[in-house]
């Protein structure tokens, strides 16, 4: 098989710039890693689900460049994105004598990318790392932005670092075997890029949704490329989330409340974001920013993508109050005021506060 790079998105962050290669036959091909610095150790960090599928091929490709290629296999799932599992990586790195030039390779979805990235940011105060995302969600989301971290019992991603990879390899082949539920979860983040930044891309997604669900490689590669381009454009203007970057969290404020309220891992992150976008669209409508037709269009697309459009009940006695309490813990909150990402009908998003009463109406309307 020959390496086939369909496209490369360049993430321009000065001395922390890096490329994202998107295509087929990439991750198991030695030449994909030829540009990386030399090191005595390469360490592949993956999970119990991904390891049997792809670890051998990646390690074999890395063997062409590094004297020692090590493997660290973590338990799968968002519920393991915690300090204990992170410490398993540190134990392995120290146990194997890894020095500060060791390169970590994150092979898996967003949880693996976030934990491996934070381990790389923190091990000996920083070693290089490479992302090899194997889910649609991680290809379109974690590939750009440098967000790494772990969860805390009181909040998602509360502990972490902004830390950029040296390289991201998005191999579309890994999406062919992805469970349908995870493909849909990834489509939530793809859909997100339309209303916040590019209505032309929203049109494209509507026209090509069936091809994406059928895993057409060209359609998937374009969806990954355009998502990374849009995210890159946003992050390039605001690397450390001082302002504009927060629009990438469209649907996430409600979504994080769902994830935290149900317990991490119950719903997939993308499922919570899908449902959260429906809620955020309704909130935007109530704030006079979009009309009912736009909300209906977006809700229909999210449903067609196989995502939930109704939120779970988190508290039988005061469901909306529970959502509000959880959202006040969101990192975008300031002095207890929840900051929502809302959209208008021209493909723009921005931050807004909202009266509790309006948020309660939206939650009541959008929950089962």
């Amino acid at each position: 098989m020959t390496k086939s790079t369909l496209s490369t998105v360049s993430i321009d962050l000065g001395e922390r710039s890096y490329p994202i290669h998107i295509g087929s036959n990439l991750f198991g091909t030695a030449s994909s890693y030829a540009s990386l610095p030399k090191a005595s150790h390469a360490v592949v960090v993956t999970n119990t689900t991904v390891s049997p599928l792809y670890a051998d091929a990646l390690m074999s490709a890395l063997g062409a460049h590094y004297p020692a290629v090590e493997l660290v296999v973590l338990p799968d799932g968002e519920s393991n994105k915690n300090w204990q599992t992170l410490n398993d990586i540190f134990d392995a790195l120290l146990g194997k004598g890894c020095d500060r030039k060791t390169i970590l390779f994150a092979l898996g979805g967003g949880v693996i990318g976030d934990m491996t990235g934070f381990a790389a940011a923190s091990y000996m105060r920083g070693v290089p790392f490479v992302q090899v995302p194997t889910t649609l969600l991680s290809q379109v989301d974690s590939s750009v932005g440098g967000k790494t971290g772990i969860n805390h019992p009181l909040g998602k991603n509360m502990i972490g670092a902004f830390y950029q990879p040296l390289l991201v390899v998005c191999d579309i082949d890994t999406l062919i075997t992805l469970p349908a539920r995870e493909l849909s979860a990834g489509l939530a983040e793809v859909i997100k890029y339309g209303p916040i930044a590019d209505l032309g891309f929203l049109d494209w997604i509507e026209a090509n949704l069936q091809a994406l669900l059928d895993r057409n490689p060209e359609a998937l590669a374009y969806a990954v490329q355009r998502s990374c381009e849009i995210k890159s454009w946003v992050v390039g203007q605001d690397e450390r989330e001082a302002g504009l970057r927060a629009i990438l969290n469209f649907g996430h404020t409600f979504g994080h409340a769902i994830e935290a309220g149900l317990g991490y891992g119950e719903w997939l992150h993308g499922e919570a974001v899908g449902c959260g976008m429906v809620m955020a669209a309704h909130l935007s409508q109530r704030l006079g920013l979009v009309d009912a037709g736009f909300v209906s269009r977006l809700t229909g697309l999210i449903a067609r993508a196989g995502l939930p459009i109704k939120g779970p009940s988190l508290d039988a006695s005061d469901n909306a109050g529970r959502y509000l309490d959880l959202m006040r813990l969101d990192k975008k909150s300031e002095a207890g005021e929840i900051r929502f990402v809302v959209i208008d009908e021209t493909g723009h998003a921005f931050m807004r506060g909202a009266p509790d009463a309006v948020v309660r109406e939206v939650v009541d309307l959008c929950c089962i």
Copy 2:
């Protein structure tokens, strides 16, 4: 009492630049913090020893600027510089609803500074922090360089981040009540700046050692100022320790082995560095870089400062082998080769490997 700033050292790191104020009546004076950004929460992180001495005064001064001033008191000592104690800070920050503009104030010695700095680097992927170092060691060492972190059972400072404070307030008054053993430990790092960078400063320390031991405020302030200036000059050229900065670890490679071998907290860090400098001087002599007279001069000064000049036995059957094993875990090691900081007689330091046999001779000579 009036605020008395004797001097200010400016740490020039582009957009991460910050000032170090050195003087008397500083930390408990509201105007010391007037330049800081607004925030809803200020959080003072300190330990059980320092809290009863200085926490009230600091919190009172901060009360002039922040609506809420919180206190987090950690157990004292290097043995608590671990994940569990770090997590106590995260628990407190989340429990008090601290957002990403919250400013952390590290009130204490190096352990408090390192842990608070890493907590600030990691909480919500980074909140601002201020150092209020209350020991000589932390005033001359942790004030400059942005090194933060915690220990791992397999190595000191193995997990951390480079993260700069907004401001450092070195109040000489806090050194008056410092236990003699800790004053000596701080002098180890002060002495270090002589042989690695400024023989004129080495002369000054020799001439003023008694005044420093007597806690003369002007002498202490100058020692802090000159140490910070030298460290700043080194770090300014190499913020992320790619090369030159490693010379600041003169004495630390041997010293870390002593600390790790005895168990963290048995010897103070400065004591291990003092003894480690004696070992590194002997190593430099054996590599032909300094003569016996220079080794003797430096050893005599370290002894006069009240520091140990003989290392502990870490393994009755193969002491030197144990030192070597521990030093191979040092972060400066590359591919298993230990990189030592050595000195010449012109006030310069640099990195060198050394044959195991020579290192063994030095350890045998310098241990009890």
